[in-house]
């Protein structure tokens, strides 16, 4: 194939008017047809369309083209498309070369003449490279029919269940002692107001009981290696100091814990209290207790009371085991879904709202716990309770503040968190529900009620007598020093009436936004993900590959990719699941064909490439060179990712990445180097 004389077909795409309106396509076609090896040069409105692709296929079949150049959009967009086209026409897909005359020409240059000249050059360079392209053999590797899901919030749970239901093995790794994630902390969900726990807990239980799911809570991924279809992950199961096989979840241990009710509960956003040995929340899955090693006297101080740990004493099942150690588990999986979720914005970073100073300034998530029937106050929005959780008062004048930590350059978050508008509306409704007399004000910049049923819900809330004031409060402070007086002043300008207000409230709820997790860096390093400017994980393509990552076989689900509400999260989770299932179900995947190879007769065996290769894909092996035994480099094609670092390190050019060989790049330089 490659030995045959090059017969090149050049196809210049108008892309509607995207290219045609700037680049003089006919001129480019004419120029192309004058170039060596070019047998056919055509233009077409949409090369990526079926008729466009058929054009290529026809020419390959009828005129025996053996090289194809498509001058259109970025190869990152349609290279796979046209590779497929060639394949279907029986031509090796690696005889395709693309000239990016849209993203890097017509869309970025105003001067039509210059843009056209550049387009010609880009096509010429493509021809120069096409002349020396080679057929590459696509290799298949088996896909281990399993998936590793990182994070067991609603996204992870949903993805895991879908893949497990399809009949494949799933490993779910959750950092905290229980699955459920943030959704389990919520009271009601907007706009339908169904109880979050009621819809989530069944799924939580399914995850725990599903025959195809191996659930590892209180665990973390330690290391990942391998490639699509064949990942190896090491998972650290942190010591619970409780033998889960014995623990019945009765809770006697927690009652007897010397620190019972003295430790702020993370699940309750520190409003409620827990023991050192604890269950994060009543419906936690698995319903197994965990000892907090930082707080537990026995583990942190090495001594618990005079007569030793009370929990162990109390546990009739004898499940408590202070000798327990972390356990490392190695698993193999074909695909990975990252669903690590988000952190809520830390209100302390907006000191003007005095969240750190006053107990009656709380975040939206704290509010969720406060009004949750399973929460520390049994669902009553009680403020100002004492240490034992006694007493407290019910607020009468409640304020909600939008966009705390979102759409706010001052804290580095330019993006909208997409959920705050609606959860604040929901929370306003809940207050109205629980305190019919209360005076409720919402301070907002804009209300974005874009989702299904959102606008209707927003209307309803306003009809329920919730006041919406358009203004971004500048300050929240206490009216006076009197500890008995809880009155807060919210300083704000009503931008509709252009009035400066100093409104009095006795409860302020901050609509804190969503942020990338604090430990996002670890995950990035672990899975080699990239970040978008907002800090969330970046998808392979914002439109067409929203759940894929740059690394084959690794997918994204939920808020780790960007703020989402529950339905969107579930939708994306299902998307990620089906993407993973495509690999798992087909059982095979093509590995990189554009890998490096060694011309051993030119290799001097210095091993520079071996040391450079980030994937350990190259080794020095003995070669019999006319009777002399010499060392030469050898590439492991399954491990090689085709980055080509080896080629730049090699002094003699003995190692080269296919499709990006020196002799394929130098002609491009020769063409593009010449000043026009």
């Amino acid at each position: 194939m490659s030995s045959r004389r090059p017969k090149i077909g050049v196809y210049v795409c108008h892309c509607g008017i995207n290219i045609g309106s700037v680049v003089d396509v006919p001129a480019v076609v004419e120029y192309a047809s004058s170039l060596p090896g070019v047998a056919i040069a055509r233009e077409y409105t949409y090369m990526c369309s079926d008729p466009g692709q058929n054009l290529v296929k026809e020419d390959i079949k009828t005129s025996g083209l053996n090289r194809v150049i498509v001058a259109s959009c970025s190869p990152r967009m349609h290279e796979p498309t046209f590779r497929k086209t060639l394949k279907e026409a029986g031509l090796n897909p690696y005889f395709l070369e693309m000239a990016n005359i849209r993203e890097q020409c017509s869309w970025v240059h105003e001067d039509h003449a210059e843009a056209t000249e550049k387009a010609k050059k880009l096509v010429e360079a493509a021809v120069a490279k096409a002349l020396v392209l080679e057929a590459l053999e696509e290799k298949e590797v088996d896909v281990i029919p399993s998936c590793l899901v990182i994070g067991a919030g609603i996204a992870g749970i949903q993805a895991a269940l879908d893949i497990a239901d399809a009949g494949f093995k799933v490993y779910v790794v959750e950092k905290t002692p229980s699955v459920g994630g943030h959704m389990s902390q919520l009271d009601k969900t907007f706009p339908t107001l169904d109880c979050s726990a009621c819809i989530l807990t069944p799924k939580m239980v399914d995850v725990a009981n599903h025959p195809n799911i191996e659930l590892m809570t209180y665990s973390q991924v330690e290391a990942v290696e391998g490639y699509v279809g064949n990942f190896k992950a090491t998972i650290r199961k942190k010591a619970r100091y409780v033998d889960v096989s014995k623990c019945t979840g009765c809770g006697v241990c927690a009652e007897n814990c010397r620190l019972a009710g003295r430790i702020p509960s993370e699940f309750d956003e520190n409003i409620g209290m827990r023991s050192a040995i604890y269950l994060p929340f009543p419906q936690a899955v698995p319903a197994k207790y965990t000892i907090d090693p930082e707080r537990c006297l026995q583990l942190s101080k090495g001594k618990c009371g005079k007569e030793g740990p009370a929990c162990a004493e109390a546990c009739t099942a004898g499940a408590v085991n202070f000798e327990q150690e972390d356990e490392l588990v190695d698993i193999e999986c074909g695909t990975i879904i990252v669903a690590t979720g988000y952190d809520v914005f830390d209100a302390a970073r907006k000191p003007e709202y005095a969240w750190s100073d006053y107990a009656n300034v709380i975040t939206g998530l704290e509010f969720e716990r406060l009004v949750s029937a399973s929460g520390p106050t049994g669902g009553k929005p009680l403020l100002g309770r004492d240490k034992k959780g006694e007493g407290g008062y019910l607020p009468q004048k409640v304020a909600f503040i939008h966009c705390v930590g979102s759409r706010d350059k001052s804290v580095g978050n330019e993006y909208c968190s997409r959920v705050c508008c609606m959860y604040l509306a929901k929370q306003a409704h809940l207050i109205r529900d629980k305190l019919p007399e209360a005076d409720i004000t919402v301070y907002y910049m804009d209300v974005r009620a874009f989702g299904k049923g959102f606008e209707e819900f927003y209307d309803r809330v306003r009809r329920e007598g919730v006041r919406y004031v358009r203004g971004n409060p500048s300050e929240v402070f206490k009216k006076n020093a009197d500890p008995e007086d809880h009155t807060l002043i919210v300083k704000v300008e009503d931008t509709l009436t252009a009035q400066a207000l100093e409104a009095e409230h006795d409860m302020v709820v901050l609509g804190v936004g969503l942020e990338p997790r604090h430990d996002v860096r670890e995950i990035i390093d672990l899975f080699k993900l990239s970040q978008s400017t907002d800090g969330f994980f970046m998808e392979a393509h914002p439109k067409l590959r929203p759940v894929d990552t740059a690394s084959d076989g690794i997918f994204l689900a939920g808020c780790c990719q960007g703020p989402k509400d529950i339905p969107d999260t579930v939708a994306q989770a299902k998307g990620a699941a089906s993407s993973a299932l495509i690999l798992i179900a087909s059982g095979k995947v093509n590995v990189e064909a554009q890998v490096s190879f060694v011309t051993s007769s030119e290799c001097r065996g210095c091993g520079f490439c071996v040391e450079v290769c980030p994937f350990g894909a190259i080794e020095l092996v003995d070669e019999n060179r006319m009777g002399n035994i010499v060392k030469v480099a050898l590439v492991n094609e399954a491990l090689c990712k085709g980055c080509g670092s080896c080629a730049a390190a090699c002094l003699s050019g003995a190692i080269q990445p296919r499709s990006f060989k020196d002799e394929q790049i130098l002609p491009q330089i020769a063409v593009l180097g010449v000043r026009t």
Binding site: L35, P36, G37, E124, A128, L131, P667, A670
Partner: protein, 344 residues
């Protein structure tokens, strides 16, 4: 032919007088001497011994384009040197001039080489006799000498104040006249003769070439070559700087779609020289290559053209970084041959 002279301080005027000639003379870049076309006649000087790069490049440039082409097109654009203008090679040493007479035997052999011949024909050679030979000169061993006239159209003797010019051919005489030189007296002729005699005495090294061409082939497989080849760098110094080495390579030089076919100096000391497309190399090591260099000069060439392809300019000895000394090799070859003869 005629005898002329001119005052040395008039050198610039003498050279400048030649309007319709391209004049080439030794020019210095740093310490390095090479023949260059004279732009400013006053830059011409006799204050040099021998150019680092021999003037063979005037007839046989390091690189010259044969033709240009474009990929996929069949028509080519040949490049033949335009030598309509007469050239004067001014101050060439007798050994280098003699080298021309050897090289042209090859270039006009089975078919004439237009590039070389055009240049050779249009060139008039004004030699400059040697008064101070360089250390490893051995021209006298090869029928040359400080005052040898072979290949020259005129020979100049630098007598200090004046320069004595002896024209050898009509072409030389024409140029001398064009320079407006005055006739020389016997004094100059005598001085010149004396200088030549003195110079001859200063040539320290020599080799008796008697029998070498006939006997070298018998040493084809003799290990003595390794005494030298083992330290050979396979570089091109000895051959590139040799006035009689004339090998060239022809390469296509590509620019994406445009290319030229050019020929450039090549040397039998490079491993690539005899490398076949198959990957086989009949001269795989420095031993074969060293042997070939010597044998070609002292055996194969004389066999074909009855003249040893060496003029004893000493460049290959002077510039070899690892002291591979052609005279030493020839001496050792004789000893080796003698030993062979005895044992046989």
């Amino acid at each position: 032919m005629g005898d002329y002279k001119f005052a040395k301080d008039k050198l610039a005027e003498v050279v400048g007088a030649l309007k319709d000639y391209e004049v080439f003379a030794p020019a210095a870049v740093g310490d390095v001497l090479r023949f260059k076309e004279v732009e400013d006649a006053s830059s011409v000087s006799f204050d040099f011994k021998n150019t680092n790069v021999p003037p063979k490049e005037l007839m046989f440039p390091e690189t010259e384009t044969l033709f240009k082409f474009r990929v996929g097109k069949t028509d080519i654009e040949p490049a033949v040197p335009d030598e309509s203008k007469k050239r004067l090679v001014f101050g060439i040493r007798p050994c280098d001039a003699m080298a021309y007479t050897i090289v042209e035997k090859l270039y006009s052999w089975d078919y004439p080489d237009p590039y070389f011949e055009k240049r050779r024909e249009s060139s008039v050679l004004f030699g400059l006799a040697c008064s101070e030979p360089v250390p490893n000169c051995f021209c006298t061993s090869l029928g040359g000498g400080p005052g040898s006239e072979q290949g020259l159209d005129a020979l100049m003797f630098d007598l200090g104040e004046t320069v004595y010019v002896k024209t050898i051919t009509d072409a030389g005489d024409t140029v001398a006249k064009a320079m407006g030189l005055e006739a020389a007296a016997d004094a100059e002729k005598k001085a010149a003769a004396a200088q030549e005699k003195d110079a001859l005495g200063k040539i320290k090294r020599s080799i008796d070439t008697e029998g070498i061409p006939e006997k070298l082939p018998s040493l084809y497989d003799h290990p003595f070559w390794e005494q030298f080849s083992d330290r050979c760098l396979s570089c091109g110094i000895c051959t590139f700087l040799c006035p009689t080495c004339h090998c060239f390579d022809i390469q296509d030089e590509m620019e994406a779609f445009d290319g030229r076919r050019a020929r450039m100096w090549d040397t039998c000391m490079f491993p690539e020289y005899t490398l076949h497309t198959s990957g086989h190399n009949p001269r795989p090591t420095r031993k074969e290559r060293t042997r070939n260099r010597i044998s070609h000069k002292y055996s194969y060439f004389p066999e074909k053209f009855d003249v040893i392809a060496c003029v004893g300019c000493g460049r290959c000895i002077n510039y070899c970084p690892v002291n591979i000394d052609i005279l030493d090799i020839l001496e050792k070859s004789k000893q080796a041959e003698a030993k062979e003869a005895k044992t046989a």
